[in-house]
Structure formats: C-alpha cells, structure tokens
Subunit: 157 residues, 2 copies
C-alpha cells in the first residue's frame, strides 16, 4: 500500500518516541485525535504496522555475539532443515535465498566459545551439506526503518 506524508510523519514520530499516545501524537502532528486514530487503524489493518512489540536486545539478555551462517542444503531436505532450525532458540531469523539452494540465518551466542556450540547444533544435522559463518564485529547501521518510511512517504507527495 502507499502511505502519504501524514502517515510517514506518524510512523516516524512513533518510532522515535514510542511512549507517546494517540492524543500526544495528534498534538505533535497538528491534526485531530480521530485522524491519528483512523490512520493508525488503517496502517495496522493494512499490515504496514505489524504491532508494537517490545524491542529486545539480545546482547543485554546475555547473547552479545551475532553471526550469519550460510547453509548449503541437501536436495529435498529444505523442509526438515527449516523445522530443525526453527527449534533452535539462537536462530533469530532464517531466509532461503537464490543461489545454490542456500539458506541464510542469523545466530546469537553467549560468547565466541558458545557460538561454536550453537553452530554445531545448527550444522550438525543431516540435511545440511556445508556451512560458512561470518561473525559480526560491528553494527554500523542497526536495523532501521525510518529512512525507508520517509522515502515511501515522499514518493506520494
């Protein structure tokens, strides 16, 4: 769906200051409260805003090490590998990608030593032929959405 400029400002505002409510948002944006409520309802039912879940930092939970693993999967074993990885809590994310029938997953671990355990658990599975892991050292751009929202809003006017 397309979002307009007001939608964009609303999302950015909520992203920057999540604690403000509908009423305060309407004051900041200079529109009526009902407008903000209607926009929010629409954005949520359109799926643009999935929700307002807590943003949990794995590092603060005791998992400061992040890594990305590229997996090569044995022909026809995709489904079972997915189920396997789904059962590993340290797998935060899993994608299937173009290329060699590969998968890419994001892992966290308690330490570099612990990462070995996690990788063993992830890779020690029959359907996985080969794996290569890249350990994250820095995160210059943390997961973000604001610039994209601003661009999407400007495309409308």
């Amino acid at each position: 769906m397309a979002i307009d400029h007001l939608d964009g400002r609303l999302i950015v505002l909520l992203a920057r200051e999540p604690r403000i409510g509908v009423l305060e948002a309407s004051r900041r944006l200079g529109v009526a409260r009902g407008t903000v409520q209607a926009r929010l309802d629409r954005l949520q039912s359109n799926g643009v805003i999935r929700g307002f879940g807590p943003d949990v930092d794995p590092a603060a939970l005791g998992y400061p090490v992040t890594a990305f693993a590229t997996l090569e999967i044995k022909q026809g074993q995709g489904a079972v590998v997915r189920a396997h990885l789904d059962g590993v809590p340290e797998v935060l994310e899993l994608h299937t990608t173009t290329g060699h029938g590969d998968m890419l997953c994001r892992l966290v671990a308690r330490s570099n030593a612990d990462l070995q355990r996690v990788i063993d658990r992830v890779v020690g599975f029959d359907g996985i032929v080969r794996a290569s892991t890249a350990i994250v050292m820095e995160n210059p751009v943390p997961l973000r959405i604001i610039p994209l929202v601003e661009q999407a809003a400007e495309d409308t006017g």
Copy 2:
C-alpha cells in the same frame, strides 16, 4: 543482565499481545501492578527492552524484495563506505564481519528490477571492491526473540 522467570513471562506476554497495558499484564501474570511496573522499568533501564516502537513491514510499504549483499571493502575505506551506505534508505542494516574485511548488509527494493538500481547505488562507490548478492525467496523464520527470551529466563530457574 540475567532475567528471571517473571521477566521472561512478561516479555513474552508483551511480545504476543503488545496492546495490553501494565494493569492487564499484572492480571495475566498474577502479580501486583507495581511489580510489573518495577520490572518493566528495570528491563528498560537495563537495555533489555529498548523500546516499543512500531514494527513496520517493508513489504507492505511497497518494498517486497529483500536481499543480502556481501561487500568487500578497499583497505582503509571502511568509514566512508559506512557513511555511504548509511545514506541509502534501502539499506536496512549493516554489519562488519570477520573474514576478508567484509561487510554484510540487508537491502530491500520495490521489485527485482528495482533491486538492480539499489545494488548499483550501493555498490557504485569507490571503496567497494566486490559485491555478491543473495536474493531472499522465503522467510521461514521471521526475526524473532521469544524463544531466546524463554531460554534466557529458564537458565535462571
């Protein structure tokens, strides 16, 4: 920091039903409201919960294509490359990783054709020697935190 079982239940509850407030959460968890408030304050000041920002779906915004690009950086050009990528809205995330002085970034685009434009913009920069891109086809495990929170809570008892 370590979280206990109540912290874990609270985070999971908020992740599943973000709209409930402190009062409702205290009812669900069977504890006093003040307890939930104190736990939440502590989790936030410890950085375990970074905030409650809106969870925006790029696909619903008109960017249904996701890709991961691995970049090889020219010696000593890391800082300028970061600044360059930081200025590209379609770059949702950027990590530096072990290996060949490489970076890994997550991209989104409006279409496969648009992805070409995004990649050109990302890669068409002097400090970048080589790039390889993997387009995401499926996302069997979307970014998640609940299993990890449950594990972290159980480690405490």
